[in-house]
């Protein structure tokens, strides 16, 4: 899997590259418009992470270039601009997703994974970890092929774990993935504890191999010890 990170901010690009490398992707990067144009011209990527505010040109015109080259690289736009116009224009020009800065690396990772998976399957998309398979499009979960009924929030939690297996997820990242931006009361993250506890119990009863482990007071990690 090859990923191109186009981002002019050095430190942000560096953390994104490091985080993606940990997921065992082959990551390349470009820091400005000409470099990016040259890279997308010469190579094929599974996914391009594109900042739309670039020195030397607009990221949206890179999307147009891609379209003109008739390339089918998947693109995730990352932008400091949370403007609906940009979002709509980006998606119209063929971007697959739009992420507003600041974002969690786990979130970026989950989105990249979904996009790549969707492209590979060309149909209904699924993500699997050990004997758990989730179908994000219809909010369904299967353990060894048997459907496990979950409510909307439990599903959102599990999807996040499956998209980021073996990765330490903090409570706030998890809370945000389920309740969105609106959850910002630090002292209320304790309710995540009971949510995870419920989910854990359901997974165990259904015979799921992976386990959700608590890591101190920080967060949780999904691991498969079998």
């Amino acid at each position: 899997m090859k990923i191109l990170v186009i981002e002019d901010e050095d430190s942000l690009r560096e953390v994104m590259v490091r985080s993606l490398e940990k997921e065992r992707y082959r990551v390349e990067w470009a820091a400005d418009y000409p470099a990016a144009l040259w890279k997308i011209n010469d190579y094929q990527y599974d996914c391009i992470v594109l900042d739309i505010m670039l020195p030397g040109g607009n990221g949206l015109s890179l999307l147009e270039e891609l379209k003109n080259m008739r390339k089918r690289d998947s693109v995730i736009i990352v932008s400091a601009k949370d403007s609906i116009d940009d979002k709509v224009r980006g998606l119209d020009l063929g971007a697959d997703d739009y992420l507003t800065k600041p974002f969690h690396l786990a979130e970026l990772n989950a989105r990249i994974k979904s996009i790549i998976r969707r492209k590979q399957q060309d149909g209904e998309m699924d993500l699997s970890y050990a004997n758990i398979t989730v179908y994000p499009d219809r909010h369904a979960v299967y353990i060894d092929g048997v459907e496990l009924p979950l409510n909307r929030k439990e599903f959102a939690l599990l999807y996040y774990f499956v998209a980021n297996p073996e990765r330490l997820l903090s409570k706030d990242t998890l809370a945000e993935s389920v309740w969105g931006d609106y959850i910002d009361q630090a002292d209320s993250f304790d309710f995540i504890y009971s949510q995870v506890k419920n989910l854990r119990k359901k997974l165990k009863t259904a015979g799921a191999q992976p386990e959700i482990k608590a890591v101190y007071g920080f967060g949780y990690k999904m691991i498969n010890e079998e």
């Binding site: 430190s11 942000l12 953390v15 940990k22 800065k101 969690h104 929030k153 309740w179 910002d184 309710f191």
Partner: protein, 422 residues
């Protein structure tokens, strides 16, 4: 009081006085002149009578006419005073008219050619004079009122005409807002108003420029902060994933992340406020505020449950209005969150929707809040570290955009009401 009314009132008093004095003066002058004229006639008459009497003593007898009469009476020499002419008013009974008519009388003494002294009394009817006086009085009174009315009317219209530019400036000022400065269209040939136009236009432009600069500054600052905030957050994320991280370090990281999240949240709210002010949410649709409120409350169910906060809902109406959906959700979420954050453990939240109101009440350990600061940016009245102080400012900003009235009341519970136009 209107400037127009004020001017007319101030004009009316002195005018009433001056013109009254003028009318009185004029009237008495005319009267005096009329009297003078009568007396002159009497004196003339006297001269003629005496002249005739001196020439012919047979004429020393009374003469009674319709308009004037005279009576001659002999008097003892010691009573005679030749230098004296006495005028006085009297009345006389006229047989034909059967009533008393006013007369003017001249009484004088003279020495006839026969060496005897006589008293001459000349009477002249002043009936016409009375008529004249009456006519003059009424004319003056009529003229007085007419003139007064004319002056006031002309003043009123002249005033309106000359001060029209002032009223255009006032109208323009009333509708002025730095977000949408409209040019001041007020063409006039009057120098003072042109100066005023210029001064106001410049002040308005300066105001709009400062407002825009401020707005842009906040917007740019928040944009510029996005990337460093993202970098810090993401670096902490990578750091926490490091297997060598100890528990103590993870706890520290959690604390830093908590602070950072507050910053990110605050920055997002500032950006949202700028975007609302920049009108970047033009698309609207019919939304049911009651349904959104129910969904938000349902979304928070686990969060409420963790603090044993109970929610009571009373829905009278779906409360459907034309709004931007994401703004409607943000507005209600902020209010619900507010009711939750400042609540007691085991407290209560009441959600009530009528056909024009959405009311959220919550229990709290705080007493009544300061209304003035409540909806201001960073006007928070608690020291909670997890409160950005922007939530209610965002609510107010969205409400203002749609002409919704936000009010706060305290009746043992904190009550926030959104009142919509019917």
């Amino acid at each position: 009081m209107k400037l127009n009314q004020y001017t007319l009132r101030n004009l009316l008093l002195p005018l009433l006085l001056i013109m009254a004095v003028w009318a009185l003066g004029f009237y008495s002058l005319v009267l005096h002149e009329v009297n003078d004229e009568t007396e002159d006639t009497l004196l003339n008459y006297k001269e003629i009578i005496i002249k005739h009497a001196l020439a012919d003593t047979t004429l020393l007898k009374d003469d009674v006419g319709l308009m004037n009469s005279y009576f001659i009476r002999e008097i003892p020499a010691e009573q005679a005073d030749l230098s004296k002419d006495v005028f006085f008013d009297a009345t006389k009974y006229i047989e034909i008219e059967r009533e008393n008519e006013p007369i003017r009388v001249l009484r004088t003494h003279f020495l006839a050619s026969n060496g005897k002294f006589y008293e001459l009394t000349i009477e002249i009817s002043t009936l016409e004079e009375e008529d004249l006086k009456e006519t003059i009085l009424w004319s003056i009174l009529g003229l007085y009122l007419l003139l007064l009315a004319a002056i006031l009317l002309v003043t009123h219209y002249v005033f309106r005409k000359s001060f029209r530019p002032l009223y255009s400036i006032l109208d323009w000022l009333r509708s002025y807002h730095p977000t949408k400065p409209e040019p001041l269209l007020n063409a006039t040939t009057i120098d003072e108003f042109n100066t005023l136009n210029e001064a106001f236009s410049q002040a308005a432009q300066r105001g709009a420029a400062i407002y825009n600069q401020q707005k842009q500054f906040v917007e740019l600052a928040s944009h510029e902060l996005q990337t460093p905030l993202a970098v810090s957050m993401n670096k902490l994320e990578l750091l926490s994933e490091d297997p060598d991280c100890t528990e103590a370090q993870l706890t520290e990281i959690t604390d830093i992340r908590r602070t950072l999240r507050g910053l990110i949240k605050m920055n997002k709210s500032l950006l949202l406020l700028s975007r609302i002010e920049n009108n970047q949410f033009p698309e609207t649709q019919e939304v049911s505020l009651a349904r959104i409120a129910e969904e938000v409350v349902a979304d928070f169910a686990e969060v409420f449950a963790a603090r044993e906060i109970r929610v009571y809902t009373m829905k009278e109406s779906p409360l459907i209005r034309q709004m931007n959906e994401s703004l409607a959700v943000t507005m209600i979420t902020n209010l619900v969150k507010n009711a939750f954050v400042h609540n007691l453990n085991g407290g209560e939240i009441y959600l009530e929707t009528t056909d024009r109101q959405l009311i959220l009440s919550n229990t709290s350990e705080n007493t009544e809040l300061n209304r003035e600061r409540l909806f201001q940016r960073f006007g928070k009245q608690s020291n909670r570290p997890d409160s950005t102080g922007l939530g209610l400012a965002v609510v107010k900003s969205i409400a203002d955009l749609y002409g919704i009235e936000v009010s706060y009341n305290y009746n043992g519970k904190h009550q926030f009401a959104l009142t919509f136009e019917l």
